[in-house]
């Protein structure tokens, strides 16, 4: 195997021997390919990779990767991934999860991994539906969504995953689209390169139970006007004619057209993904068509010390001045007497 480690890898090197069993046409298939490509691009060693998952369609992900993998229980993948990473910080740990797994049953672990900033990459497959249990609404389904468990339409107000994540202190938040593999691959590379919890929300179409749920973003006719690809340091410009931009108006964003009403390119906001303040990132990530374009790409990438680093620092500090050299010294410490 050592020869292959040295020669450049292709995405096929990251495929396990297991047959991929997602539905034909499911967005998960393209996410898998894009992820393998990102691994090849970084020439990752397969033994250094651990894919962890909870339960749901997305959670089958680890079986399809030629790496270490652990398919666990519903909602708890974030906690298990935390344990794996802290146990061996040299590993590259990835969590494949969905909107039900992370935002409903696993909500607590989701917010806490972000709060702690454990260096784990979280891939949130958001299809706004429960697929594996065959079509119930999820915490991201829009209000009024009709599903098997909501025949009259949901009365649950949905979560915006980005607001939840940024509110919980996420240091990295990016958004990708399952039908745009090239950008997705790059976002996965960016996620891996960020030191801290990297959350990638992937807008993923479930062609069986929630087909075209992101058509207002991905549709051919609307995509240019409804997608804003953010790039750190670049102006926030979008639209078929590249003449639309975003501007702050008070505490809110507004869409402006360059060349109209005296607006020039200089009036358009420049994206600063690295800003420690999440305020503008929140505004950007919360946008949704038709009023606004959907923000895509790396929305936030703020340097913050990780939990794994802090735990290692405390260990190193304690080892520098050990209270006891070994366990025997501990056992015989304090008040003892001999008989």
């Amino acid at each position: 195997m050592s020869e292959t480690q040295e020669s450049p890898k292709t995405h096929k090197d990251y495929a396990s021997d297991q047959e991929v069993r997602w539905c034909p046409g499911c967005g998960d298939n393209s996410i898998l390919i894009a992820l393998r490509k990102s691994m090849a691009e970084m020439n990752k060693k397969t033994e250094s990779l651990v894919f962890v998952s909870g339960i749901g369609c997305a959670a089958r992900f680890p079986y399809y990767m030629n790496s270490y993998g652990f398919h666990t229980i519903h909602g708890r993948g974030a906690a298990i991934a935390t344990g794996v990473k802290l146990s061996n910080p040299d590993l590259s740990v990835w969590l494949a999860t969905g909107d039900g797994d992370s935002l409903a049953i696993g909500g607590n672990h989701f917010i806490h991994i972000l709060r702690r900033n454990v260096n784990v990459n979280v891939l949130l497959f958001n299809n706004e539906i429960y697929g594996l249990t065959k079509g119930q609404f999820s915490p991201t389904s829009p209000l009024g969504k009709k599903s098997k468990s909501s025949p009259q339409g949901t009365i649950d107000r949905p979560f915006n995953p980005s607001s939840l994540a940024l509110g919980a202190g996420a240091t990295f938040f990016a958004r990708a689209v399952d039908t745009l593999p090239k950008q997705m691959t790059q976002i996965f590379v960016d996620a891996e390169q960020h030191i801290g919890t990297s959350l990638v929300e992937i807008l993923q179409n479930c062609n069986i139970f929630n087909d075209k749920c992101f058509a207002d973003i991905t549709g051919k006719e609307v995509k240019d006007d409804h997608q804003l690809w953010l790039e750190h340091g670049a102006p926030m410009i979008f639209g078929a004619d590249k003449n639309k931009g975003l501007k702050l108006k008070g505490f809110e964003l507004e869409v402006v057209t360059i060349g109209e009403n005296g607006v020039t390119e200089n009036d358009v906001l420049i994206h600063d993904a690295e800003n420690q303040s999440p305020v503008l990132h929140q505004l950007l990530a919360s946008m949704r068509p038709p009023e606004f374009p959907m923000a895509l790409g790396v929305i936030r990438k703020a340097k913050t010390i990780t939990y794994d680093q802090l735990i290692e620092d405390q260990l190193a500090a304690s080892k520098k001045n050990p209270v006891h050299g070994n366990v025997n010294e501990l056992l015989f410490s304090g008040e003892t007497w001999e008989i």
């Binding site: 229980i73 794996v84 802290l86 080892k319 003892t336 007497w337 001999e338």
Partner: protein
């Protein structure tokens, strides 16, 4: 040399009781440590309220510390007290029933005003109204004498008031001929930043000692000579501390880093606190967001190559059930400590009970066998924490270690074991040159699979909670394979009976009555059996530490007795388990479910009744 009489006692039980803020736990611990240094055998039992600071002087706010010291072997903290120190009327009221007839009661009379005794629901002053008739009552104005002693000391009123526990301790030290040096050293270390507090506390301790010598109420003092313990170096140790140290020893001996995922819960939190102090051993401790995260983090750490441990109490075990099932089917090492407390639901968080046994054995979905073991004394929590880790690591299985609130907070002298005296721990870790390997290939003898640690080349593999193929570990829905896997997982746990020690019987090997217990009831049961044996009765004790699997000779032991009585602090959980596992025997049962340990007296009465049937 003292001029008064010093009488020799075989053993004595003292209970210190006062308001939560009166420092009774510290007072009791000091008496314990001093007696330990004198070579007495000891058992202690702290008894504190769930409220951190209940309203002052109320019954709910009484905090107590019971200590039993002896020249003879001490099994339990004692059924009843020879001496009660009651710092206020509430402490008197909640503890009077457990004072022996004609026992000594030392009272802080300054706290027996009308307001105070009414707050403790006494209608009149119990010192004056005959409530204490028949007891040897020592009326000591502890608060005012403490105040007088520290007048002009430079300490403020609040600090002076807080010294009064040292006065009480000084009195008891005189009563039982204990030297003050150990506590003086303790005071110097505790208040090393504050000379005034050192001087104040030391002074009050001595004033209390001198006061006891002077007053006529205590006409003689007592001494308890050293116990005949095996030669060796001893220390005093609490159950939770012993549990934590057992894990440290297991980590050191196995070479696997210790990783604790835990969520605070009474009475288990002390294990979390203790392990948090030992990062210099490479211990990683994580206080998780909830009980489920705590066990999942530990499982993730095990997958990553650590000794993954989680610590909890009953309600927390319920929350962890699904994750324990995952560790079981994935066949990863995991130790789950359940420091049992009174249930159900929130129950009696600060009290003891043994009612989580069936939850530990069966409380998971599907066929989900795990190893269940139980510690039986505060100090052997060390041994069973070590054993739990050894079994988990060597047999790739979750192990539930049951202790309880009584063991966790109780203490006793422990003949310190050196780590090199402990058996080796040899986890089945694969190395990278392994050929033709699959995740679920098993050792033919033990049925244990290998542990392939992430990061090692050529061992990449996927495991999970779905049923897996018998060899490859790939997801399998094959009906026959599922049955085969369910059976092999059960067999794997049963095979552990080959490596655990046989059941030991205390007393004769056969006879009239076999008392059967498990876990933390050992002290009371052994004491009762010892007492009856001494009076010529045919009674023996079999105390179980290994519950699943049972020791191999269990049926053999049971078959040699006419009657078996299973005693436990629940409504009959172990007897249910025995009845289903070894149905050929008839089991009598004795239960108690009051949040309190068995008393030796109630056990003796019951066993005598069985014997005369």
């Amino acid at each position: 040399m003292p001029s008064h009489n010093i009488a020799e006692l075989e053993h004595v039980v003292i209970k210190f009781a006062g308001d939560s803020g009166d420092g009774m736990q510290l007072t009791g611990t000091q008496f314990t440590d001093t007696s330990a240094l004198l070579g007495n055998d000891i058992a202690t039992f702290p008894d504190f309220p769930a409220e951190i600071r209940a309203p002052q002087g109320t019954l709910a706010g009484v905090s107590g510390f019971q200590v039993h010291i002896g020249k003879i072997k001490i099994y339990t903290p004692g059924d009843a007290a020879d001496v009660l120190v009651a710092m206020n009327p509430a402490a008197l009221k909640t503890n009077l029933a457990m004072v022996k007839p004609a026992g000594t009661i030392i009272l802080n009379t300054n706290s027996f005003g009308k307001k105070e005794y009414e707050r403790a629901h006494y209608e009149s002053n119990p010192i004056e109204d005959g409530t204490l008739k028949g007891y040897n009552v020592v009326e000591a104005p502890i608060s005012s004498l403490t105040r007088d002693a520290l007048q002009g000391s430079g300490l403020d009123g609040k600090s002076i008031a807080r010294c009064k526990n040292m006065f009480a301790l000084g009195m008891v030290y005189w009563l039982f001929s204990r030297p003050l040096e150990q506590t003086e050293r303790f005071i110097e270390a505790k208040f090393k930043e504050n000379e005034l507090l050192i001087e104040g506390n030391k002074k009050v301790l001595r004033v209390g000692y001198n006061y006891a010598e002077t007053i006529e109420a205590l006409s003689s003092s007592y001494t308890i000579l050293p116990a005949k313990l095996d030669a060796g170096v001893y220390r005093n140790i609490m159950g939770n501390e012993a549990t934590a140290w057992g894990f440290l020893a297991a980590s050191e001996r196995s070479g696997r880093p210790l990783f604790l995922g835990s969520y605070p819960i009474t009475p288990a939190s002390n294990i979390l606190h203790e392990l948090s102090k030992h990062k210099h051993f490479g211990v990683k401790v994580m206080q998780a967001e909830d009980e489920i995260a705590a066990v999942c983090i530990a499982i993730g750490a095990s997958f990553g190559g650590s000794l993954g441990i989680t610590t909890t109490s009953g309600p927390g075990l319920a929350l962890k059930s699904e994750a324990i099932g995952l560790a079981m089917i994935a066949e990863l090492p995991l130790v789950v400590v359940n420091v049992q407390r009174g249930g159900p639901s929130t129950g009696l968080p600060t009290k003891t009970e043994q009612a989580d046994l069936l939850q530990a054995l069966y409380g998971r979905n599907g066929e989900s066998p795990v190893v269940v073991i139980a510690a039986s004394t505060p100090s052997n929590c060390f041994d069973y924490a070590y054993q739990a880790s050894k079994i988990a690591l060597e047999h790739m299985t979750p192990v539930i270690l049951l202790t309880d609130g009584y063991l966790a907070n109780g203490s006793e002298p422990w003949k310190i074991k050196k780590t090199e005296q402990l058996s080796d721990i040899d986890p089945p870790i694969l190395d990278k040159d392994e050929k033709d390997w699959y995740p679920y290939i098993r050792d033919q003898e033990t049925l244990v699979r290998h542990w392939a640690l992430p990061g090692i080349e050529n061992l990449e593999h996927r495991i999970g909670g779905l049923e897996k193929d018998f060899i490859t570990g790939n997801v399998s829905y094959d009906p026959e394979n599922h049955e085969r896997m369910c059976r092999v997982r059960e067999d794997k746990v049963q095979k552990i009976a080959d490596v655990i020690p046989e059941l030991q019987v205390e007393g004769s090997d056969g006879g009239e009555l076999l008392v059967v217990g498990w876990g933390g009831t050992y002290g009371a049961l052994a004491n009762a059996v010892d007492r009856l044996t001494t009076s010529g009765k045919s009674v023996s004790l079999a105390q179980f530490n290994y519950i699943k699997p049972l020791p191999k000779n269990t049926a053999d032991v049971f078959s040699r007795f006419k009657t078996i009585v299973v005693c436990e602090l629940n409504l009959g959980q172990f007897s249910k388990y025995l009845r289903s596992t070894l149905p050929q025997f008839k089991y009598e049962e004795y239960h108690k479910i009051q949040g309190m340990p068995f008393t030796v007296a109630e056990l003796c009465t019951h066993f005598e009744k069985i014997l005369t049937k």
